[in-house]
């Protein structure tokens, strides 16, 4: 199956996945606003539930001339941006053939692993999923962000990686990021974005 089988109106689909507290929703906000700045119709969808920390968090973002469903269907996602390795695996089936998974090389063990009988998936498990006609790129975002002095910017760093795959001008990303983070963290996030871009160009 080739790219050209997809209808022309097919949107550009992003799925962001992480664990509560990792900044997944802020990253999704930025991807959505970049789409708006580029003049697309944009929809974004997330499910907030409980106030607790530590649950699985996802957000869908779609850019197109006209977006209907706010959710991408399995097999429709172009870019999976995952902030944690298990969450990447959980949503890998959302990717279209040839889709790209950008995976923060970071593990957070769920409760059923730390206090129950479950095991965290092995690298062989991961390889078997990503072999399915997907492109998985592991990004040491946690370490790179740590080197910038603040692990929390790993989310914006991952967007820097994503940006090299897309046509959007770099300046649009930087403006949107500056508009969405507190003033005193703008410079730090800008540096994180640059670090992500450099890493993205290396991986590309």
């Amino acid at each position: 199956m080739t790219e050209s089988d997809r209808p022309l109106y097919a949107p550009q689909n992003f799925l962001l996945a992480g664990v509560g507290g990792q900044g997944t929703l802020l990253a999704a906000d930025i991807v959505a606003l970049v789409g708006v700045a580029l003049g697309h119709d944009v929809k974004k969808s997330e499910v907030h539930g409980m106030a607790q920390r530590g649950g699985s968090v996802t957000s869908h973002v779609r850019w197109a001339e006209k977006v209907y469903s706010p959710l991408s269907a399995p097999g429709e996602v172009d870019y999976l941006i995952a902030f944690e390795r298990l969450e990447a695996l959980r949503y890998a089936n959302m990717l279209r053939p040839g889709g790209v998974a950008l995976v923060n090389d970071y593990r957070i063990a769920p409760g059923s692993v730390t206090s129950g009988g479950d095991t965290y998936p092995s690298e062989a498990d991961e390889a078997s999923v990503y072999a399915a006609n997907l492109r998985a790129l592991h990004v040491p975002a946690q370490a790179l962000a740590q080197a910038l002095g603040q692990v929390r910017v790993n989310n914006v760093l991952m967007l820097g990686v994503l940006s090299v795959f897309l046509d959007a001008p770099e300046s649009v990303w930087r403006e949107v990021i500056a508009s969405r983070v507190p003033a005193r963290y703008v410079a730090l996030n800008d540096r994180a974005f640059s670090a992500g871009r450099a890493e993205g160009l290396r991986l590309l």
């Binding site: 199956m1 089988d5 997809r6 209808p7 109106y9 097919a10 664990v19 606003l33 708006v36 944009v42 929809k43 974004k44 969808s45 997330e46 499910v47 907030h48 409980m50 106030a51 607790q52 920390r53 530590g54 649950g55 699985s56 209907y68 469903s69 706010p70 959710l71 991408s72 269907a73 399995p74 097999g75 429709e76 298990l86 969450e87 695996l89 959980r90 890998a92 089936n93 959302m94 990717l95 279209r96 053939p97 889709g99 063990a109 769920p110 409760g111 059923s112 692993v113 730390t114 206090s115 129950g116 479950d118 965290y120 998936p121 498990d125 078997s128 999923v129 072999a131 399915a132 006609n133």
Partner: protein, 608 residues
């Protein structure tokens, strides 16, 4: 410029633009952000009420008095407010009355997925159903106009997907501040507003006539529209289902209903006449389908598409493909169906859990130890039902715990049992049940988990917190005083971080032959004041015997260490310093004192 707004934000903006003056509600996912967005807007009044029934009465009162009003709740909230809905339907309104009700197909955070559109038909109240954020904004105006034109409250039904999805919205002009200063005069009209049977008998046919007139108007309402296309399949749809159907049937003819009750009979008949196969795609109950059938229009709906759960592009596509309504769309052949992915072992889930430092944990750890039956309620603490705590044994609807526990005790069971209820839930619908316990001198022990917030829905204020929705300070309800005044003489306050006092107090209360209340008081660990007290604890690895007692508290901060205990070969415990708040519950259950208490730690987190 267009703004990217969630359905909830767009609803709030719409209410503001449309001159809603008074808004009242009770939090509930996925409706909560509507009032949180509306409350800071200029020129309006908004409040949290103890429950949805009170909120709807407040909105009805404002409407009777001539101010446009809105009540906001989640679907099950309308069960609580149903009595008010029915009388407002029969009295009608003075100024526009909007009731926003958020359904939760798929039960992302609810105990059921009842379809609010049924209430529309039951109470003879029109129901609007937006399909995206833009329509959320526009339909507020439509609702208020319908309400005033046809003398009826109007329900606006959203769903989780509409409420929490963002789309581009063209906002309208800002609200004119001048109108906010006007003081309405209460128009006295007992025949309309005093529902003594004589008046109610006169009002009932008027109500029936009004809803017939709405049905007539529905045929030409702009939000009910035909989108012509290929005539072989004609799709009648509403709400979020419209969006999924549009993706799966890009070329079909559509009849998109924005007003899903009452149905526009002429419009539907006209549409049906022009298509070969009439297909109804709706999320939830077969409401539109039944309306079509009542009109004698041959159609298919729930025989093809799921009745249960949330719809999505893939469920609509799969069902349509099976029914031969669409050809295969190869780009939808998901990777999920590729053989490689199928071989993967099931992935460990990441369900919501009680947070590190959650004060509820201390109570559930003790209840588990005492092996009592726990009749629970709805809130974060419902998670006490999950392993490894597994210490909550029933949970139905808000406020149910106390009545259920009393009933369980009346059945004369062999075990002890207790009711567990959160503070916000107690103010919501627990008070009357506790009054019953006091009145009938039940032996029930009621534990009120007072974390001074409505944590589950994202930390809203409530009558016990000392602040209103709009941030005004207010005298906090005196919980102990309230409980005593209801007739409970045995009232104890404990700190749930102090396991020993929780246990001794509970044991004493269980032994009593009289009703008792235990208030477990400690602020939610996510509140800003509590966050300031965080101090991560540490396990002394050389002392840990890898018994796992601490990990059976289900605290996410306690994880298996790479280091094994030599005697058993089992993993010791480590504490994640990023997650640990230092509540010390684990330190109290450790049989060998391997976990250091706060006062045993030095500044670097080592032993003092």
């Amino acid at each position: 410029m267009k703004r990217l707004l969630s359905g909830n934000q767009a609803l709030a903006r719409g209410a503001w633009e449309s001159g809603v003056r008074v808004a009242a509600g009770y939090p509930g996912t996925p409706s909560t952000e509507i009032l949180e967005t509306f409350a800071p807007m200029p020129g309006i009044y908004a409040e949290w009420c103890p429950n949805e029934k009170v909120a709807l009465d407040v909105a009805i009162g404002a409407s009777y008095a001539g101010a446009r009003a809105m009540a906001v709740m989640k679907h099950v909230g309308l069960n609580v407010a149903a009595d008010a809905l029915f009388y407002a339907a029969i009295t009608g309104v003075e100024a526009g009355l909007l009731i926003v009700v958020a359904d939760d197909p798929g039960m992302h955070s609810s105990q059921g997925e009842q379809d609010t559109r049924r209430y529309g038909k039951f109470a003879r109240v029109p129901v609007l159903e937006p399909s995206d954020s833009q329509e959320c904004l526009e339909m507020v105006a439509t609702a208020l106009e319908l309400s005033e034109t046809f003398d009826t409250p109007v329900i606006l039904r959203t769903t989780t997907r509409i409420a929490h999805s963002y789309g581009l919205v063209e906002v309208g002009p800002d609200r004119a501040p001048a109108a906010d200063a006007e003081r309405p005069t209460y128009r006295v009209d007992p025949t309309k507003y005093v529902m003594l049977p004589g008046n109610a008998r006169r009002r009932h046919p008027i109500m029936e006539d009004n809803i017939r007139r709405v049905a007539e108007a529905a045929n030409t309402l702009p939000c009910n529209r035909i989108e012509p296309g290929d005539r072989s399949v004609g799709i009648v749809t509403s709400g979020a289902a419209y969006q999924y159907a549009r993706e799966v049937f890009p070329n079909a003819s559509f009849c998109r209903l924005g007003l899903s009750y009452p149905a526009p009979t002429r419009l539907l008949a006209e549409f049906a006449a022009g298509v070969e196969r009439l297909i109804i795609i709706e999320e939830g109950d077969p409401v539109l389908e039944e309306e079509c059938r009542l009109q004698g229009l041959p159609c298919e709906g729930k025989s093809i598409f799921p009745l249960v759960g949330e719809l999505s592009t893939e469920t609509v596509y799969d069902a349509a493909l099976r029914a031969g309504l669409v050809d295969e769309q190869p780009w939808r052949a998901p990777v999920a169906r590729a053989p490689q992915a199928r071989d993967l072992p099931a992935l460990p889930p990441r369900p919501p859990v009680l947070c590190p430092g959650c004060p509820h944990r201390g109570v559930f750890a003790t209840l588990r130890k005492l092996k009592v039956v726990v009749n629970g309620d709805i809130g974060c603490y419902t998670l006490g039902a999950l392993p490894p705590l597994s210490a909550l044994h029933s949970c139905g609807c808000m406020g149910a715990s106390i009545g259920v526990a009393h009933g369980v005790a009346l059945a004369g069971i062999q075990q002890h049992n207790v009711a567990v209820i959160g503070d916000s839930t107690f103010y919501h619908t627990g008070i009357a049940a506790l009054l019953n316990v006091a009145y009938n001198q039940s032996r029930t022990v009621t534990i009120i988990l007072d974390n001074s917030t409505t944590a589950m829905t994202g930390h809203q204020q409530h009558p016990g917190t000392g602040y209103t929705l709009q941030g005004r300070p207010t005298p906090p309800a005196d919980l102990e005083g309230l409980v005593r005044v209801l007739g409970i003489q045995q009232v104890h306050v404990v700190d749930p971080y102090d396991l020993e006092s929780v246990e001794t107090t509970l044991k004493a209360c269980l032994a009593l032959d009289a009703p008792s209340v235990v208030i477990a008081r400690r602020a939610c660990a996510l509140l800003p004041e509590a966050r300031k007290q965080y101090r991560p604890l540490r396990v002394q690895a050389d002392k840990c015997i890898a018994c796992g007692t601490c990990r059976r508290l289900g605290c996410p901060a306690l994880t298996k260490s790479d280091e094994l205990y030599a005697k058993t070969g089992k993993p010791k415990t480590v504490i994640d310093p990023v997650l640990c708040t230092g509540c010390e519950i684990c330190a109290q259950v450790c049989p060998v004192d391997a976990i250091l208490f706060r006062n045993q730690l030095d500044d670097s987190g080592g032993q003092a």
